[in-house]
Structures are given as structure tokens and as C-alpha cells.
Amino acid sequence: MELNFDFMVKYLPWYIDAAILTVKIAFFGILLSLVVGVICSVVQYYRVPIIRRIISVYIEISRNTPLLVQLFFLYFGLPKIGIVWSAEFCAIVGIAFLGGSYMSESIRSGLESVEKSQIESAASLGMSNALTMKEVIFPQALAVSVPGICANVIFLIKETSVVSGIALADLMYVTKDLIGLYYETDEALLMLVVFYLIILLPISIIASIIERRLRYAGFGN
């Protein structure tokens, strides 16, 4: 197998642009999914009536449908009722819609791992619910949730690969384009893999370091 290096150098900028798009969508999508996840998990944790039901319906829907189908609905379906979003915005919303439920489940398992007696002891010090959440429950929950959150981050970055389905020029899109145009399949695929490794490898290494740290330095009682 001989590789055409000139080709690879020539189209490197395409991949760089595509990688930037991938990272951008992933970044904002994940950020939003964290916001959604925190809100949903807190509502579920406090068992807020009605809203809690709505959120569990959302979680079931989000977890049991593919992102690609969610994106098609957002991008091609919604404009028919007057909601017109750019492809990029759809992609970010899609990632947030999908990721929100995964984040929520991870954070909730953390919240629920905090013992009830911790909450009572905060209450006996006159702390309000909000203060107890901020100072006592949340920090402890985070330590339990972080490995799950990290796994979700990696999962969501990988999921962004489907945004080419709504015509966004991400890494998959560029690769398919180059294969179609020039038949330099090996080179295009190699660059695709390398770029995904560049994005994902550091994050997955960081995630495993964090996880190991947490396991050894856990708060423990």
C-alpha cells in the first residue's frame, strides 16, 4: 500500500477545518448537555411533581432513539412548522438533547449516592436546601459522577460523527467527499482515523487519569 503524501498534505487544511467544526459542535453540545443534565437530575432528585414526569419521558425518548433520527427531525422536520435552525445549531441542539439524558443519569446516580444523614446534618446546622445542595450534596455527588460524565463526553464526541447526515462538513463529510472525488480512499481514511485519534485520545487518557485519581483519593468517610 503506497500512500500519496502530496494528496494528504494538499487536503490537510480541509481536515483541520472539519476537525474544528467537530470540536466546536461537540464542545457546545456537551456544555449544553451538562446544563440540561444538571437541571434534570436536580428535578428528579427532589422529586418535583409533574416536571419530574415530563423529564423522565424526555429521558426515555432521548435514550431510545438514534441521534441521526433526532437530527433529521430537527433539521428537515421542524422547518415545516416554522422552526428553521441552521445545520450547525441543529447539531448542537441534537447533541444536547441526546447528551442531556445521559448526563442526567450520571449526575443523578451521584446525587443519590450522598447519604441522607449528610443532608440532615446540614439541615441541623440551619442550612437551606439550596445551600446544602451547593456546599454538601453537589461536591460529593460530583466525585461519584465524574467517571460517568467523562464516558459521556467521549461518547458524545463520537456521536458528532453523524452530523454529516445533515450536510455539515465535518470529518466524515470531508472524507466521503474526497473518496468520491479522487478515489484516494486509503489516504482519506487514514487521515480520518488520525484526526479522530488526535481529538479523542487525549480526552480518553485524561478521563482515565481523573478516574484513577478519584478512585484513590475518594472522600471516604
Binding site: 425518548i61 441521526l68 433520527v69 422536520g77 422547518p79 447526515g165 466524515m172 480512499t185
Partner: protein, 224 residues
């Protein structure tokens, strides 16, 4: 008119065609899951072997499959393998291969997790009762791992169904593609068809995955 969009679904065989489209991906996921389960069990046992070579090999395989988006793997199989080896893999064969490779890695990791979760004293007490290795495996290890594994395997099935939706991106005619054809054919008569068609596809996927997820959740609760 929104109420006209929905009627597209009931025209001719449109709804049936969508279901057939869904079956295309469901069939691939079922085949891939059925292949992944035995292969994954073997892979999981392979991973728990003490041999450093088998450990390294399985580690690399698992990590590579895990870190790459499934769509990348699909591209490699569909575009790359075809050229490199001169095999002309059809889209559905490459999909089955990729999803089986992925499913095997995931299943293998689940099996490994279940195997190492059995505490050492279980092996010790089996030995103390005079069981040999095969008896220990059959009477002690397998029953305990099964309870853990079955819900997780069921979950893997829903993940598989969701992931196989990707095959439209290597040109397969599945439910999304059929949907697009229906929308295009009715572009002028029913301009809002896209909302209904994609909405229904959304719902169909949900109806395919949700009961399976519920089953997994139920078993997990009961067996914990």
C-alpha cells in the same frame, strides 16, 4: 396545511415501506447481536487470560474499536477494505461485519467485567468443596455471571439498533432513505410531509428500543 402532511403516511403503501425500511436496520442489528454474543463471550474469556500477549492484543482491539466512532469503522469497512483487498463488500455485509466487530468488543468487555466481579473466595470455596475447574465454571461462575450479563446484553441490543441507523450514511436504503423518497415524491402536494415522516420514524425507533430498555431495567432491578 399540517393536517395534509400526515395523510402522506396513509397513502398507498407508504407506511408499510417505512416499516420495511426499519426492518433493514433491525435485521442488521439482530444478526450482529446474535453473532456478537458468542464471539463476545469468547473474547471476554480471552481477555481474562493471564497471558501477556493475549492481554495486549485484546486491549488494542478493544481500545481501537471503542475510541473510534462507529461511523468511522463503517467507512473503513465499506470504502477501505473494498479497495485494499479487492473485495467488493456490499453495504449490508460491511455493516454486519462492522457491527459484529463492535458488538464483540462491547460484549467481550461486559463478559470480562462480569467474570472479574466474582470474588476470589467463590473460587476458593468451590475448590474447598472439591470441584474441578469445569464444575466450578459450570456451577459457580456461569450462574453468577448470567444474572449480571443478561440485562447488559439486552441493553447492548438497543445500542445496536440505534447505531445501525448509521448505515444510511454509506448509502443503504433503510427507513430514513425511504422516508426521504416519500417526502421527495410528495414534495409539491404535501410540503409538510417531512415533519410527519421524520416524526414517525422517530417514533418507530422509540417503539423498537423502549420496550427492550424497559425489559433490561426490570431484569436488572430484579436480579440485583
Amino acid at each position: 396545511m399540517q393536517d395534509s402532511g400526515i395523510s402522506v403516511l396513509f397513502m398507498g403503501k407508504n407506511f408499510l415501506r417505512l416499516l420495511e425500511g426499519l426492518w433493514v436496520t433491525l435485521r442488521i442489528s439482530l444478526i450482529a447481536v446474535l453473532l456478537s454474543i458468542p464471539l463476545g463471550i469468547l473474547f471476554g474469556m480471552f481477555m481474562t487470560m493471564k497471558n501477556p500477549v493475549s492481554r495486549a492484543v485484546s486491549r488494542v482491539y478493544l481500545e481501537f474499536i471503542r475510541i473510534m466512532p462507529q461511523l468511522v469503522l463503517l467507512f473503513i469497512a465499506y470504502f477501505g477494505v473494498t479497495r485494499a483487498f479487492g473485495w467488493n463488500l456490499s453495504a449490508d455485509v460491511s455493516a454486519v461485519i462492522v457491527f459484529t466487530l463492535w458488538g464483540t468488543a462491547e460484549m467481550g468487555d461486559l463478559v470480562r467485567g462480569a467474570l472479574i466481579s466474582i470474588p476470589k473466595h467463590q473460587y476458593d470455596s468451590a475448590a474447598a468443596l472439591g470441584m474441578n475447574k469445569i464444575q466450578t465454571f459450570g456451577y459457580v461462575v456461569v450462574p453468577q455471571t448470567m444474572r449480571r450479563l443478561i440485562p447488559l446484553t439486552i441493553n447492548l441490543t438497543t445500542r445496536m439498533i440505534k447505531t445501525t441507523s448509521l448505515v444510511v450514511l454509506i448509502g443503504m436504503t433503510e427507513v430514513l432513505k425511504v422516508g426521504k423518497q416519500i417526502i421527495d415524491a410528495n414534495r409539491f402536494d404535501y410540503p409538510t410531509a417531512a415533519l410527519w415522516v421524520y416524526g414517525v420514524i422517530f417514533l418507530l425507533y422509540f417503539l423498537a428500543c423502549w420496550p427492550i430498555s424497559m425489559l433490561a431495567k426490570k431484569l436488572e432491578k430484579r436480579w440485583r
